[in-house]
């Protein structure tokens, strides 16, 4: 739904990366849908299957971007990590099956080289068990999806409240 993205760089953007037909790969999409439902106003939400140039297009010129994706690093499915890009090393994707796992890393690398990064990029990574076409997202990962949606929802609300306090 990239067509919805406005050119206003100040609105926080949530990018859900994934493929809903490939099991746990849907995690990023599910979180973004949850955010769209629960966070009212002041946030833009897009879904994408990934792609280096797509990600650059989406986040270039933005103040705050939150990207949610499934990844595999050998941990228990459903566990998750929050990473601030630029300060913490990215999780290395051990699986070749997560085509966009490497895409996100490449997009960040390319964005840094070409100076096309948002001011703030936060990545929420959910550990996936399987990426098999046609399988449902596993219970463990769905649990992770709910946790990340809650954490991200809170993170999105915080600066708003802060702004209100500062403004009032």
């Amino acid at each position: 739904m990239t067509a919805e993205v406005s050119s206003d760089g100040r609105t926080p953007l949530v990018i859900g990366v994934g493929n809903e037909f490939r099991g746990d790969d849907a995690a990023g999409l599910l979180v973004s849908r949850e955010i769209r439902r629960s966070v009212k106003g002041g946030v833009q939400v897009v879904e994408t299957p990934g792609g280096v140039s797509e990600l650059l297009e989406l986040w270039d010129g933005r103040d705050r971007v939150y990207l949610v994706d499934a990844f595999q690093s050998g941990g228990a499915p459903g566990t998750w990590k929050r990473l601030l890009v630029g300060r913490e090393p990215l999780p290395t994707t051990t699986s070749g099956t997560s085509t966009h796992g490497a895409t996100v890393a490449s997009a960040i690398a390319l964005g840094q080289v070409l100076d096309r990064m948002p001011k703030l990029l936060v990545i929420y990574g959910i550990e996936a068990g399987h990426f098999e076409p046609g399988r449902d997202t596993s219970e463990e990962v769905l649990m992770g999806v709910r946790e990340v949606a809650r954490a991200l929802g809170q993170e999105l609300e915080l600066p708003n409240r802060k702004t209100e306090r500062e403004g009032g």
Partner: protein, 99 residues
């Protein structure tokens, strides 16, 4: 190549599963082959000794079910359904979580 990669993955999983609980031997392995899988039971049995060689499943019995349901979402796949493990020194009454 495809088959080998799949079986290598199953081998990895067997080792992982057997070390998860306690030092255990695997007595039986149950595999399910999807109707559209590239793999046949014969091929699988032929390659099995290599797959389990040096793992705790080395002397396990192998049960293979070949599905004929082409509409199963896993029809292209190979599934490790379950394993029987023998654990020395633990009675059936105490199979709850270890402390």
């Amino acid at each position: 190549m495809h088959e080998e990669a799949l079986l290598k993955d199953i081998r990895q999983k067997l080792i992982e599963e057997s070390t998860r609980a306690s030092p255990a031997q695997i007595a039986r392995v149950r595999l399910w082959i999807g109707a559209l899988s590239h793999l046949s039971e014969d091929q699988l049995r032929l390659q099995w000794p290599t797959v389990v060689d040096g793992t705790p499943a080395q002397s396990a019995e192998l049960d293979v079910t070949t599905s004929r349901d082409t509409t199963n979402p896993r029809a292209q796949g190979l599934v490790l359904m379950s394993i029987d493990v023998t654990e020395p020194g633990r009675s059936p009454a105490r199979t709850g979580p270890r402390l």
